[in-house]
């Protein structure tokens, strides 16, 4: 066989008023220059014919060219016929189709969008109600038959969300204490009221920032982990396997996690309080030359049990909200890798949102109650 000199892709265009005939030949390769067909803007053909003569070689560049021709014909409304299409390019690829109507099949698409969204909201609310109901029933059963509860899972989760979270919660609370002390020190020193740094940091940390920072870190660490783990179990049909064995996923997966979080959150908040106060104390000592013992006595004087109690009570509620959001998002996850990722993201967003809203509600309620 004789090697031929490489011929480039060729395109010859014959235009009459009726027909535009494009003859394609030579050797079509992606790396080479591809011929272009650009009909005059005012051209009006009855139809367009593409004739593909036997080609030496061809690849994706021919497909791209034919696609360009097809799109042009679609735009200008010319029927297109292709002759001699190489085997390997499905004919459907070069058929001119009318542009698809961009609707969802209803007369007023926006109205039906609203309707569908409303109905989805209804289904979501029903799911939330059912989930909360199942959790309540589960807690009832836990109280009636504590021996039947999966304590081993619960202890494992307590270790995961409690003990293993101590370093990061400690660091963040300590830094929050430092920041609050710095901010207040700059202001209070102007009035010679240095000692009130202790009051400000103590109250701020114990009533608000300690429980809040603990909740935010736990939402990011543990809420996301719950959603990802349960979502992955769902994708893997493990939840189905529980259900067909007559075991309730809520009792089995949700309750141990929920209880673990609610038991650990107050302890974490207490720990966050301590580290926050310590941060304030060190700043006051270093920056304002306030002796630690003075700072400590001032802090003890300003705090009473209701400050501590409200903070801890809030943290129990925060723990419940984070656990519920994480587990619910996990159970709702799509059965795919992307679905699990979305569930984890959504769990963190939902739980932080719930925690902040709950905190605002508590602020108002505690103010009314005078706590």
């Amino acid at each position: 066989m004789q090697t031929q000199p490489a011929t480039a892709a060729t395109l010859s265009v014959e235009e009459t008023t009726e027909v535009c005939r494009l003859t394609v030949g030579g050797r079509w390769e992606r790396a080479d220059q591809r011929p272009q067909w650009s009909p005059a803007p005012g051209a009006a053909f009855r139809r367009v014919e593409v004739v593909v003569t036997p080609l030496e070689r061809w690849d994706g560049s021919l497909v791209i060219f034919l696609g360009e021709v097809r799109r042009l014909c679609e735009k200008r409304g010319w029927p297109l016929a292709v002759q001699g299409l190489p085997a390997g390019i499905p004919p459907a690829l070069v058929q001119v189709q009318p542009p698809p109507a961009r609707t969802n099949g209803y007369t007023w698409p926006w109205l039906s969008e609203i309707g569908l969204a409303t109905r989805k909201l209804g289904y979501d609310l029903r799911d939330y109600a059912r989930f909360l109901g199942n959790c309540t029933i589960g807690f009832g059963q836990l109280l009636l038959r504590p021996a039947h509860f999966r304590w081993v899972d619960c202890f494992g989760q307590m270790q995961q969300c409690g003990a293993l979270g101590l370093p990061i919660i400690g660091l963040i609370s300590f830094l929050v204490g430092v920041i609050m002390a710095y901010q207040s020190a700059v202001l209070l020193r102007q009035f010679g009221a240095d000692i009130y740094v202790a009051d400000l940091v103590g109250l701020g940390v114990v009533r608000e920032m300690g429980p809040m920072m603990a909740a935010v870190v736990v939402a990011g660490r543990t809420g996301a982990a719950f959603a990802a783990e349960i979502g992955n179990m769902k994708a893997n049909e493990e939840i189905d396997a529980l259900e067909t064995l007559g075991l309730s996923p809520v009792r089995f997966l949700v309750l141990p996690r929920l209880l673990a979080l609610q038991l650990m959150m107050p302890l974490l908040a207490l720990y966050a309080n301590a580290l926050g106060v310590l941060g304030g104390l060190l700043v006051a000592w270093g920056l304002l030359d306030l002796p630690p013992i003075t700072y400590w006595i001032e802090t003890k004087g300003v705090l009473d049990l209701s400050d501590l109690g409200t903070g801890l009570f809030k943290s129990v509620v925060f723990g419940g909200l984070i656990g519920l959001a994480g587990c619910l998002r996990g159970l709702q996850a799509d059965r795919s890798a992307a679905g699990v990722g979305k569930a984890a993201t959504s769990a963190v967003v939902t739980s932080i949102l719930c925690v902040i809203v709950a905190d605002a509600v508590f602020a108002v309620v505690f103010n009314i109650l005078g706590l």
């Binding site: 179990m233 893997n236 493990e238 189905d240 396997a241 259900e243 067909t244 075991l247």
Partner: protein
């Protein structure tokens, strides 16, 4: 749970299966005798797995009736349903073993939850069930540490844990090589012969279908329901429907006419 000795193990009448808004199957009627090795076969997307999920109660039934041993499953209350579910074993497509537990713990969990056996008694049963599927010695391994075939076997052991009267298999051969898949078929036959368990197997593996099935229903997209019912070899020999042959006849791919 043997309320009616004469009733078939599974009796499905006029079942309609929906997934969300879409009707996948309608008017599905069949029954499975006790101890039968029954296959649900068909191409991808014909609704085999959806039918299975309806049978085991994971999806709500839109219309029709499912009865096990003469007891109605569709209208049973939640407690009765859970009770009936305990008499099924289900082996899922990818095993669905609980990944945070060892193989032994996986098999032990149904026993722990539904029986009054002591820990020592449970351990004996678990050893026996795992030995039955050829997994002695792998008790303390986690699902992620064993091969796909072993995971399938462990899932069967878990499905056997409560000595069920019916076992459902979702694509037992999915993702397995032909040798492992054949050994799994042999295992299924053995269990049926030894324990007289009724088996319902969702599959599209021709060798298994032609090899071990007593009877099968062939689902098809076009009819949204059962296209043919009978012993697979008999169907292959006697059916005149080209769609049945298309599915069951082992065809040479290179000899097939090229689609335009």
């Amino acid at each position: 749970m043997d309320t009616n000795a004469a009733a078939p193990a599974i009796d499905v009448q006029g079942l309609e299966c929906r997934q969300g808004e879409r009707t996948i199957l309608h008017d599905v009627t069949f029954s499975v005798a006790k101890g039968e090795l029954f296959f649900v076969i068909g191409g991808s997307g014909c609704g085999k797995s959806t039918l299975l999920k309806h049978l085991i109660g994971l999806l709500p039934v839109a219309a029709g009736r499912i009865a096990y041993f003469g007891r109605d499953f569709t209208t049973a209350g939640p407690a009765a349903r859970r009770e009936m579910q305990k008499s099924f074993g289900v082996s899922y497509q990818y095993g669905a073993l609980w990944s945070s537990m060892t193989l032994a713990e996986n098999v032990a969990l149904p026993l722990q939850e539904h029986t009054t056996l002591t820990a020592d008694e449970r351990r004996e049963i678990v050893r026996w069930k795992l030995a039955q599927v050829g997994l002695s010695g792998s008790e303390d391994q986690y699902p992620s540490e064993v091969s796909g075939g072993m995971r399938k076997r462990a899932a069967i052991a878990r499905a056997l844990a409560l000595d069920p009267q019916i076992i459902f298999f979702d694509e037992p051969a999915a993702g397995l090589d032909p040798i492992t898949s054949r050994s799994l078929d042999r295992l299924i036959l053995e269990i049926r012969d030894n324990l007289h368990t009724t088996m319902v197997i969702v599959s599209h593996e021709l060798p298994s279908i032609l090899g071990i099935a007593d009877r099968a229903i062939l689902l098809h997209r076009d009819v949204q329901g059962i296209l043919a019912e009978g012993a697979p070899r008999q169907l292959l020999a006697e059916s005149t429907d080209p769609r049945v042959h298309e599915f069951l006849a082992p065809e040479d791919v290179t000899a097939a006419p090229r689609s335009p």
